[in-house]
Subunit: 245 residues, 4 copies
Amino acid sequence: MTGGPSRDPVLYSEVVERVRASDTDVVLNLTAGMGGDLVLGGVETPLPVNPDQTDLAGATERLEHVRALRPEICTIDCGTMNFAEGDYVMTNTPSILREMARQVRELGVRPEIEVFDTGHLVFAKQLLAEGLIDEPALIQLCLGIPYGAPDDPATLLALVQNLPPGCIFTAFSIGRMQLPYVAMSVLAGGNVRVGLEDNIWLERGVKATNGDLFARAVTILEAMNVRVLGAAETREKLALNGHGG
Amino acid sequence: MTGGPSRDPVLYSEVVERVRASDTDVVLNLTAGMGGDLVLGGVETPLPVNPDQTDLAGATERLEHVRALRPEICTIDCGTMNFAEGDYVMTNTPSILREMARQVRELGVRPEIEVFDTGHLVFAKQLLAEGLIDEPALIQLCLGIPYGAPDDPATLLALVQNLPPGCIFTAFSIGRMQLPYVAMSVLAGGNVRVGLEDNIWLERGVKATNGDLFARAVTILEAMNVRVLGAAETREKLALNGHGG
Amino acid sequence: MTGGPSRDPVLYSEVVERVRASDTDVVLNLTAGMGGDLVLGGVETPLPVNPDQTDLAGATERLEHVRALRPEICTIDCGTMNFAEGDYVMTNTPSILREMARQVRELGVRPEIEVFDTGHLVFAKQLLAEGLIDEPALIQLCLGIPYGAPDDPATLLALVQNLPPGCIFTAFSIGRMQLPYVAMSVLAGGNVRVGLEDNIWLERGVKATNGDLFARAVTILEAMNVRVLGAAETREKLALNGHGG
Amino acid sequence: MTGGPSRDPVLYSEVVERVRASDTDVVLNLTAGMGGDLVLGGVETPLPVNPDQTDLAGATERLEHVRALRPEICTIDCGTMNFAEGDYVMTNTPSILREMARQVRELGVRPEIEVFDTGHLVFAKQLLAEGLIDEPALIQLCLGIPYGAPDDPATLLALVQNLPPGCIFTAFSIGRMQLPYVAMSVLAGGNVRVGLEDNIWLERGVKATNGDLFARAVTILEAMNVRVLGAAETREKLALNGHGG
């Protein structure tokens, strides 16, 4: 562990090998979000870009660890937006997204399309229409992240109503709305995502572990009489090929 | 007329002077959208940026024509997004937007906040909360532009429900949905925008003029028994100071 | 003309014969809403019912004029509700609605299902599921009538999202919202209804004729570049058999 | 216990006295829904009404037990509708509702306004506008009951957006959707209702007690980090006078 974000294939490999060597069967999903970090030079001189903080890689380079490790799923952040404050732009142009989708498909990996605002979903449907994503599409609605789509129910429903027919989706929110969104996503017809990437608190003043958050999600779902699928059923539902196992 | 987009203050001045010299009283609203054009170097080598197509200016430089001409209103494109295809990014970071809002306020010009997706509206409310925009905020919901918010009614309503209290808004869509959106915006509680910037067709196969589109909008509104305001009433409603007259 | 509501087949026959004898080709749609009028005896003694104002007829009797005149379409008010004030109840129980739907289908007449609130639509789908209505269902969303569904866009969209797949629908509102709803219905994917039954004003202070209201609707639609169908195209779209022609 | 529904004040008194004599502090809320049962005579002869199954009482008579027992809250079913199948109509006309609201207010009891469809909410707001209900209004959105409003999220949101400003509301659904709606109501900004009146199953094949359902609701809410109020805090929030304690 380096404590920082990275797209070094060696680090990914180390983690993936440990997961695969373990007795726990999980569906393996690697981010391909790294390499889309653009930081401009400042308010009055946006160019040249800030060289220390910018990490903008080409499509092939961004997928190096996916190519090496062949997870069952990898993410594709389906657009460009202001993400947090300052001079930072999360940058994924139509050109690079098309090429990443093409390569991911060729690798036999299923893409999880990350949608941070309603326009990202428009582009996701464009990728589907162009045959660059196989059906059923796996779509992650990422809500409550500044400055993407807010997590109010009306915005969520507008997104859900615009989903491509037959897709499989999850909606999540961040921070203190992560756990309520376990229920919200299911009530809107979706699946569930929790974990430290989006929220570090179990409750006010209590730091969480991934295990804690997962247990809470299961508690909410089972109390609502919603059944939680294991890895094998999930593979079948998501049309995964299992080479990540 | 050069036939291309520009942020040359001399060209803006020429147009503004003709408008001010005319007998027609209109509310003057100048774009400040120029200078946010980033074109990456390509799918495999995003950096360095494409120098010929990129026009990324600092906050002060982007407002030069506004400073010189003091229109009643100028636009602020309230976010960053993939706009159209290829390697292009419409780029307006939180940092530059805060500085542009600050300068526009100092100039005594009213900003029209252009919102192309739901996250842009979240940031607009952040600017309001920070006191960088005066109330009532003027908000333009720009729909149907790839790859921003689609123009289906549910997405529009989600945006409208997230508007800051007391703001004055307009919603428009582009292309063949521009004229239907004249009615849609009013039905959602908003005002109306038409013009060649968003749509060049009056009907299938018939090119429009701005006058044609305006006349059509008036026809729709008056047939619905909606009253159209003139320039003086509009100034009062939008809390304009009139120095653009 | 008697000036009052009636379900006397003789009166209906007189009107229908004049229409059929005319040179104007229209789709003929007769109400079957009469005979569902229940007026209770009062606040402290609801029973016995008010005998002078109550007109509650059986299913067969309510369809007498439809049986005699065989219009292309007849209405079925798909539920029970407080309609206006006082002790009045618009009364159409599940039992009588099933029998009316059965008889209308047997007559070869297409029913226009009038939905005044979201629960009426639930029952309409129940009739469809039971095979008592042929597809595509013709559904009229009747909004803004106290005390049925209000005509705000969110309520309309909730209804539209709950429509049975493949149905053909219209949404209308009453009074001063009738003309704006010409656009609203089309924007929500529906067709258009105007006329003196729902609104008697062309504009503030100006009484309308049916012709006036129809002309206004056409003006709105054509200005939005929406095409208006004639009687023949309408017959095809609504799967009518034309025996009303 | 008689095993049947009743509006006999003696039976209500017996229950209320036991509750008040117990050590458990609860907010007491009595139904005033009895006495609105109209059953028509049949499909071909709707009148006279079915005398055995009809129980249609006047406003004063329907509130006899409320007058005698002065609970903190009593319900008012805010409209008329087909409720379940057959010839049955749940009957509450505008006239009788106004008189019931007037009497409940005079008794110093807080009304819980039961809304079964969007039009009932329109009438609830009418009662508020006429001063017949004190603010903050307590509104119960009753969903999923045939043939009232369905419990899909879009219909719920349409209702929530139409609530009167400042009201306190709960939304519930019935049967297998009761427990998921514990989360749904809170996510929409409301409070929670569970109990055997609306659902008799804890999970598939397992009959519930009120205690079971309550415990499940608490489990869901606490796992979402939502705090559950006790009787004293509830009294303060709902502006109750506590004479039911």
